[in-house]
């Protein structure tokens, strides 16, 4: 067990010049076979390995990461956690995830800096107010906290917002989920990696999966840049590359990869202490603990695997934020990048079995993957350990695209989710 993290251990470390700390996770080289292989060392993959070991005592597990753990979308998102969903199936899934987040720092003994500073969604028309009333009531039906906000309440929570009557994008009020907020994305990946490694999971970086081993049509391992590795069951949790891996296994997914951009301003003293989302303009932002405004908005709407993002979309993203916060015009963009997200038609994930025996998939989270890390890992671990879908994941199977039982949150709420 690596040393526990606490104020005391930090004090002991200081006295020993911090030479006493062990590796956060073991640098492992692949063994020839495991019970389970998880392809993808991002938040979802590492959480899957952790819950396999913790919930199901399956510890002969390897997480194979092409580059460095947390280097895919986990390291590229705007770190927002929330569960303001309309449909019961999504509400249960994402609120279970938020509940796991609420206990995660203690569970992993690693501070993921969960800051439940509330989400404020802005209403720009009376139609928006009506749909937010439906949203808030639906969430309460699902047992999730949600309240409407008057214009005055929005003004007090969101300084710098242009709420003047002549504003091009008028603000009439809003809706809030108090338990929503942000978490430090890197810490979520490293926290899960450390805890999984401590329970026996092998975390193998710079190991790219290039093919699948099959016997009688059943997946029994993978071909990698570090040689073949066999396993009873293989789970894919590699958002952005889900289709590439599925194709290697002879499987076609209802997924298209798009770049989702994010950008940060230079660091500022505290300015904004809540997460703000504007369905009308598509823009959302929060201020990180280091003081940078972390900004995101719409997708680059053409298929891409390039983690860059189009300059024209960067301009639209900033225009949507400055339409709401004109005074931010003089702030400066420090850095801009993009993650590659799996977009499916109904913007809901796919977690469970695939038509290929022995192969399981966790993908399709679209622009909402970070908030889904704990439950994505929890439910993929369940099906990898038991062969049966977890009840929470039961509505989110590949089959829904054939039966038409889509769970279309974006369409229901009318925003580009």
């Amino acid at each position: 067990m690596p040393n526990r993290y606490s104020a005391w251990s930090l004090l002991r470390g200081a006295l020993a010049g911090h030479r006493n700390w062990q590796g956060a996770w073991r640098e492992a080289t692949p063994k020839p076979r495991y019970d389970v292989i998880v392809v993808g060392g991002g938040g979802h993959g590492l959480a899957t390995a952790y819950y396999l070991a913790k919930n199901h005592r399956v510890t002969n597990v390897a997480v194979l990461e092409r580059g460095w753990i947390g280097g895919g979308n986990t390291g590229r998102n705007t770190t927002i956690v929330r569960s303001n969903y309309l449909y019961p199936e999504s509400a249960r899934l994402y609120d279970f995830s938020l509940k796991l987040y609420e206990g995660l720092s203690r569970d992993l003994n690693y501070n993921i800096m969960l800051s439940q500073r509330a989400l404020v969604m802005l209403a720009h028309s009376r139609h928006d107010l009506d749909s937010m009333a439906r949203w808030a009531n639906a969430m309460r039906m699902n047992g999730i906290d949600a309240d409407l906000l008057s214009l005055e309440e929005v003004r007090s929570r969101v300084p710098g917002l242009d709420t003047s009557s002549g504003a091009r994008i008028p603000v009439l009020g809003g809706f809030t989920q108090r338990r929503a907020g942000t978490a430090r994305h890197d810490a979520v990946a490293w926290g899960y990696a450390r805890a999984a490694s401590a329970l026996g999971v092998d975390i193998i970086q710079n190991c790219e999966v290039r093919g699948f081993l099959k016997e009688g049509g059943r997946v029994c391992g993978v071909q990698t840049s570090l040689g073949d590795i066999r396993a009873e069951r293989v789970g894919i949790a590699a958002a952005g590359h889900s289709s590439v891996l599925a194709e290697l296994a002879g499987l076609r997914l209802p997924v298209t990869s798009y770049a989702l951009q994010a950008l940060v301003s230079e660091p500022l003293k505290p300015l904004l202490d809540t997460v703000v989302l504007s369905p009308g303009t598509g823009g959302y932002l929060s201020q990180s603990d280091k003081g940078e405004l972390v900004i995101g908005a719409m997708l680059d709407l053409f298929p891409s695997y390039a983690q860059r993002g189009s300059f024209a979309v960067t301009q639209q993203i900033l225009a949507s934020i400055l339409a709401l916060f004109p005074a931010y015009a003089r702030l400066k963009m420090l850095r801009q990048w993009a993650g590659i997200v799996d977009v499916v038609h109904d913007s809901s994930p796919i977690i469970g079995r695939t038509p290929v025996p022995g192969l399981f998939i966790n993908c399709g989270w679209g622009t909402g993957g970070f908030k889904g890390i704990p439950v994505g890992g929890y439910t993929l671990a369940h099906v990898l350990a038991t062969g049966e879908d977890h009840p929470l994941a039961e509505p989110f199977q590949l089959e829904r695209f054939i039966s038409g039982r889509l769970i279309d949150e974006a369409a229901a709420s009318g925003i580009a989710h």
Partner: protein, 967 residues
């Protein structure tokens, strides 16, 4: 005093005859025209400029350009602030006021400095190991107040921005000797060439030394027609050779007055030349962050360009031959070089400086002075082979080697390789469409750089293959300048307080990837993005994990190369111009008649016409009642309008709509639903046949662009053999809608002939005619449930028609009515409002439009999806009428329907709900599971904790048999 002005010929950029006064932390200081804030502060001997991010250690000016990590200030003008400005880039102007950042109450006495004492408790990533109980939130406010640098103001200034695009043959980014040589040669070979110079004058490092060859190149370039843009920095290389640059125009501090502040340039270049030079690497030694430790090249630039001596007695810590040139240059300027401590063994030293005491194999073991350097102690590299040497000095220069600015090459997708002898990453071949020249290509020999750059310029202009870069000339430099034996905090990232011990801790805890190193320690994540720290950090990680720097590698280079103002990136897309807001042709007429405008989609339209003292809702109640009783006038111009024409138009519309349109006779009209391929309702509207080959199609005002695009997509991509042409005409026609029992009376009074009487013009028919010589297209259709005519005419005539009809409406105690009243009227009739009652999951069967699908021949859009299991699920939500049991309480829109208190499974929600002025009781529509079978059932409606009993009722609520409609 440590800072003073040098006499002529030093200070090529300043004008000694034009003094400038400015404020720093409330103190009035004097600078000169041509100074930067940094050079002026240094000239005034100001050493303490700010406080570092985490440990609040004292910080001074460190560099002279965009790589400045510590000289960060806020510019202040009353309520306006411009945060996080690099003092090295701020041009000094009269009245400029700057303030230190990240310190309270003052930069001299900063409470945050207490962090310095606890630094052993604050190693990299300390916050991951604690603050877990009772949770992070309680600790967060204090941590956030400590972090961050500048303060943003919530006051919008008067500055505006613009954007310009330009095609060029060759774009050169960087105006040193290499950039100028490439540009001149290319232009002379006939290429349209633009040269971007980040500073006020081209010339680069040699320029501010007054180098003659650079002067000649500049003349040649201008003569050959090179367009030189100064104060313009290329910050990003994007797809297909797009280079974005920002040009600084105004230097007056932010204020309320309007002025064009910055211009965004977008260049599409056939080829790009990167010539942005190289940064200087700092040296690693204890307390190397004290104010008074500066980059050697920067101090040389302050002397030559600004005539400022940053100190009187200098010690240089070197790991590169460039230190010797700087030593000679400062000696010549009358600044005493006490000693040059060269970290390298003598065999690596390729030059010497006349009259300078140089000691090989030696580094700095200790810096004396907390707030400002007062001296240092030299120690041998192996720690014991020579005595420690105390040196009195007021300035320590660091010359740790060079780091080529490979940012644009990397952004364009270029690869890098490690040049071991000079310990630097250089471009490995050229990226697609971008060639690097000069120091950023690793070519440091002056002649080699100029020659290669000229060859590249000519080759690119003439389309020849580009010669490879003659990399070299940067002398030998050790990868690591650290001396193992010395103790004390040695800073790698000066702004984020990342020390050598933090890199060691990262290695020990297996955060060994260069990306993990960056994110765990935050080195390279500050506003300078690691321009002076990245190489030292990755070399150290290599040392601690027994890997070569090439194996450790660099992190990804992301735009922007240097931070860019948000406003400059979006140009004119501000305020009203953020997104087009569509207005009615007769907008002023409506305003004169008391319209209360609101936004509906991207339209601004009258929500109601409140009379004095009336609220919006009271006005809407009155207007709705008036339409039922006498007559109302409504401006329907935003309605989407398409002309669908051709021999196959009828067949095509059968493929697009749920219902059958091909059976319409000329003059007949029919209501239709449009689905997407998933069977979901996306739009609705009336289709009327004008003649055999021409249809008039109405869509919702929000759905017109989507519907027109969908029709074009089907015609161009799938049904390519159909002879149909679709032409949007929304803006061509104004639309005045007159509705109510006296509707035709008003039309007649306005001059419309008997052919439009209710008897002659039946419900759901279309008639073209004339009114006062103007062509009109009259459609008798109703969204209010009353006798109703929609009169379309050329948009320019709308106001004349409205005025004529309004006179007739007034004499009959009618009124103008807005969207809110229309919503009440259509809800009373139970008419569907797509997007309000329906959402992205509603199928036609859910709202009573399932009849007759199987009788239809055409495989219309979405039809196949209606056969899927999910579409036939009996549990689907159906549109129903809902009325409160007590006949009084309004059922709130968005309320959920469930027969048990939350949390429970919801059975539906209220979609539209209004008090009905005609009935004197509330009417509502709702989507309810198995709605069709639950007529008469009592249900409970839940809204934010309140519960209201209601009953499922049939619709329409008013005039169920539609006698008023067909009268």
């Amino acid at each position: 005093m440590s800072g003073t002005r040098l006499g002529e010929p030093y200070g090529r950029r300043i004008d000694r005859s034009r003094p400038i006064s400015f404020m720093f932390n409330g103190r009035v200081l004097a600078g000169l025209q041509g100074d930067t804030l940094a050079s002026a502060l240094l000239a005034n001997g100001v050493r303490l400029v700010g406080r570092s991010f985490k440990l609040h250690r004292p910080r001074g000016i460190f560099a002279a350009g965009i790589e400045e990590p510590t000289g960060i200030v806020d510019l202040v003008d009353g309520r306006h602030r411009t945060p996080d400005e690099r003092a090295t880039l701020v041009e000094l102007v009269d009245g400029l006021a700057a303030e230190s950042v990240n310190c309270w109450p003052s930069v001299g006495f900063d409470l945050g400095a207490v962090n310095g004492w606890f630094s052993p408790l604050l190693p990299a990533g300390f916050y991951y190991k604690t603050f877990k109980w009772p949770g992070w939130r309680p600790f967060e406010p204090a941590i956030r107040r400590m972090a961050g640098l500048g303060r943003a103001s919530l006051e919008r200034g008067g500055e505006v921005y613009e954007e310009i695009s330009e095609n060029v043959d060759l774009l050169v980014a960087g105006s040193g000797i290499a950039g100028l040589a490439a540009a001149a040669a290319a232009a002379e070979a006939g290429a349209r060439t633009v040269l971007l110079c980040a500073g006020r004058e081209p010339g680069g490092a040699l320029g501010w030394r007054g180098d003659a060859e650079v002067g000649d190149l500049l003349v040649r370039a201008r003569r050959a027609g090179v367009r030189i843009l100064t104060r313009t920095l290329a910050f990003g290389v994007y797809d297909h050779n797009l280079v974005c640059a920002s040009e600084r125009l105004a230097h007056v501090p932010a204020s309320a007055t309007r002025r064009l502040s910055e211009r965004l340039w977008k260049f599409r270049a056939r080829s790009i030349v990167a010539a942005q030079g190289a940064f200087e690497r700092p040296m690693l030694f204890p307390d190397n962050d004290r104010p008074g430790v500066m980059l050697a090249g920067a101090v040389d630039e302050y002397a030559h360009a600004y005539g400022v001596a940053c100190g009187r007695r200098v010690v240089i810590a070197a790991n590169c031959d460039s230190a010797y040139r700087v030593a000679e240059s400062l000696q010549a300027a009358g600044i005493e070089v006490v000693a040059l401590l060269d970290r390298r063994p003598s065999v690596d030293i390729g030059t010497h400086a006349a009259g300078v005491r140089a000691i090989a194999n030696t580094g700095i073991g200790k810096v004396i002075g907390a707030r400002s350097v007062r001296g240092c102690v030299a120690v041998p590299a192996d720690g014991h082979s020579a005595p420690r040497l105390r040196l009195e000095c007021d300035l320590i220069l660091v010359a740790g080697g060079h780091a080529p600015a490979v940012h644009l090459h990397s952004q364009a997708g270029g690869r890098l390789r490690w040049l071991a002898e000079s310990s630097m990453f250089v471009p490995d071949g050229n990226a697609r469409g971008l060639v690097s020249v000069g120091a950023c290509a690793g070519v440091f020999g002056r002649e080699a750089a100029a020659q290669h750059a000229a060859d590249v310029g000519r080759a690119l202009a003439l389309g020849f293959t580009v010669p490879a870069a003659p990399v070299g000339g940067a002398s030998r430099s050790l990868a690591s300048s650290r001396i193992a034996a010395v103790r004390g905090k040695q800073l790698v990232d000066l702004q984020n307080d990342v020390a050598v011990s933090d890199v060691e801790l990262a290695a020990r805890e297996n955060y060994r990837s260069v990306e993990h190193l960056k994110r765990y320690t935050t080195t390279g994540m500050a506003t300078d993005q690691g321009k002076t720290s990245n190489v030292n950090a990755l070399v150290l990680m290599g040392e601690f994990t027994h890997r070569e720097p090439a194996e450790v590698g660099t992190t990804r280079f992301r735009p922007p190369y240097s931070p860019v103002t948000f406003g400059a990136l979006i140009g004119r897309r501000v305020g009203a111009l953020y997104r087009p807001l569509k207005r009615l042709a007769a907008v002023e007429w409506h305003a004169r008649h008391g319209a209360l405008f609101e936004q509906f989609g991207n339209w601004s339209r009258p929500a109601a016409y409140p009379r004095s003292g009336e609220s919006l809702h009271q006005a809407a109640q009155r207007e709705a009642l008036t339409v039922r009783r006498t007559v109302g006038l409504f401006d329907g111009s935003p309605l989407g309008k398409l002309e669908v024409w051709g021999a196959d138009a009828a067949r095509f519309l059968d493929l697009m709509y749920l219902g059958t349109m091909s059976t319409l006779a000329p003059g007949q009209a029919r209501y239709g639903l449009l689905l997407n391929e998933n069977g979901v309702i996306v739009d609705d509207g009336i289709v009327a046949r004008v003649d055999e080959r021409r249809f008039w199609v109405n869509t919702t005002s929000a759905g017109i662009e989507r519907t027109a695009a969908a029709f074009e997509e089907w015609l161009q991509c799938e049904y390519t053999d159909l002879r149909v042409l679709v032409t949007p005409v929304t803006s061509r026609y104004g639309n005045a809608t007159i509705s109510g029992p006296k509707a035709f009376e008003v039309m007649a009074a306005a001059g419309f002939g008997a052919e439009f009487s209710p008897q002659a013009t039946r419900h759901m028919t279309l008639h073209d005619g004339h009114w006062r010589g103007v062509p009109v297209r009259v459609l008798r259709a109703s969204f209010t449930g009353e006798l109703s005519y929609e009169i379309n005419l050329p948009a320019g005539e709308t106001e004349q028609l409205l005025q004529a009809l309004a006179e007739g409406v007034e004499t009959r105690e009618g009124c103008l009515y807005g969207i809110e009243a229309l919503e009440i009227l259509r809800t009373e009739k139970g008419y569907l409002h797509v997007g309000t009652d329906t959402d992205g999951t509603t199928l036609p069967g859910d709202v009573g439009f399932a009849r007759g699908i199987d009788r239809k021949a055409a495989n219309f859009v979405g039809r196949r999806s209606l056969l899927r299991p999910a579409a036939r699920d009996p549990q689907r939500l159906r549109l129903v009428g809902l009325a409160p049991l007590d006949g009084r309480t309004l059922l709130p829109t968005g309320a959920q329907i469930a027969n048990a208190p939350p949390p429970t499974q919801t059975e539906g929600h209220v979609t539209s709900s209004y008090p009905s002025p005609s009935l004197g009781s509330p009417v509502a529509l709702a989507m309810l599971a198995r709605g069709g079978e639950r007529l008469g059932e009592q249900v409970t409606v839940h809204h934010l904790g309140r519960r209201i009993e209601a009953r499922v009722v049939s619709t329409p609520f008013v005039d169920p048999k539609g006698e008023r409609l067909h009268g």
